[in-house]
Subunit: 153 residues, 2 copies
């Protein structure tokens, strides 16, 4: 079918969760803070991020030191995934029937790209502080998008 | 920073929208139907998709000929994007200030992966019929996930 493409990480997750064993299932980390450290080569791409609901007393300083309260979508590359797995036991429950990976949020899938809708707390230079990031420390980040309730909800 | 990874399309979008000029901005195609044709090599990964709110009179036949009414998230590779662009005029409005691509949903971004939350109408073998897919005909598909209001909303 169609040809291959190359993805290049634009940043990395910095998190207190350091191993797969510590990593909870998706959604269980709603209250936990983490950082997304963007490669300085891509810092310009952060301009305008956050601050969509910025209080009037905090004037705009795009991409630099101000607080936002919007959500963002972070796409990561799950580099420990098994790309050859097409079926999994959902949530590891081996008493349930196996399901195709496209019907689950399992990390194991042909293109192991994960999707994280997180709260953007702060942008400080090339570092984003976020809440609700369920990825282990060191996970490569591929893309960042503003969340849109209309498109994504 | 981190190393490169290779993505391999698992399918393709079949849509009546055949060119960038015809393609509306994101979200404007809410009522339009399209198909996602999954490479038969990955058909097994579709098992269990759809039918999460299946009427009782339509018994489960995983991945084969039944109607679903859930949403799915489709990740595509926007192969015509300019990967070197770090700033864009949002929605092409050149009278507005440029913004970093990570603060927009522009197709132009370092890793041009698009995110489409669409309504899954039907699974017929390796073909998914969906509503709300704003991608042009022939767009490579990288991944399919069930939409979760809790995770993605």
């Amino acid at each position: 079918m169609a040809r291959e493409h190359v993805v290049r990480p634009i940043g990395v997750v910095r998190s207190a969760v350091r191993s797969l064993e510590e990593a909870p299932k998706q959604g269980a980390l709603a209250g936990t803070e983490a950082e997304i450290v963007v490669d300085p080569a891509y810092a310009e791409a952060l301009i305008g991020l956050s601050g969509r609901i910025r209080p009037a007393q905090e004037p705009a300083a795009p991409g630099e030191g101000h607080r936002g309260s919007g959500k963002i979508v972070v796409l990561c590359w799950m580099d420990r995934a098994d790309r050859g797995r097409l079926k999994v036991y959902p949530r590891g429950q081996e008493d349930k029937p196996e399901r195709g990976v496209f019907s689950t949020r399992s990390p194991h899938r042909p293109n192991p790209i994960s999707l994280h809708t997180v709260e953007l707390l702060e942008v400080r230079g090339n570092v984003l502080r976020v809440r609700g990031m369920d990825a282990i420390d060191g996970t490569p980040v591929l893309d960042i998008k503003p969340h849109s309730p209309g498109l994504d909800g």
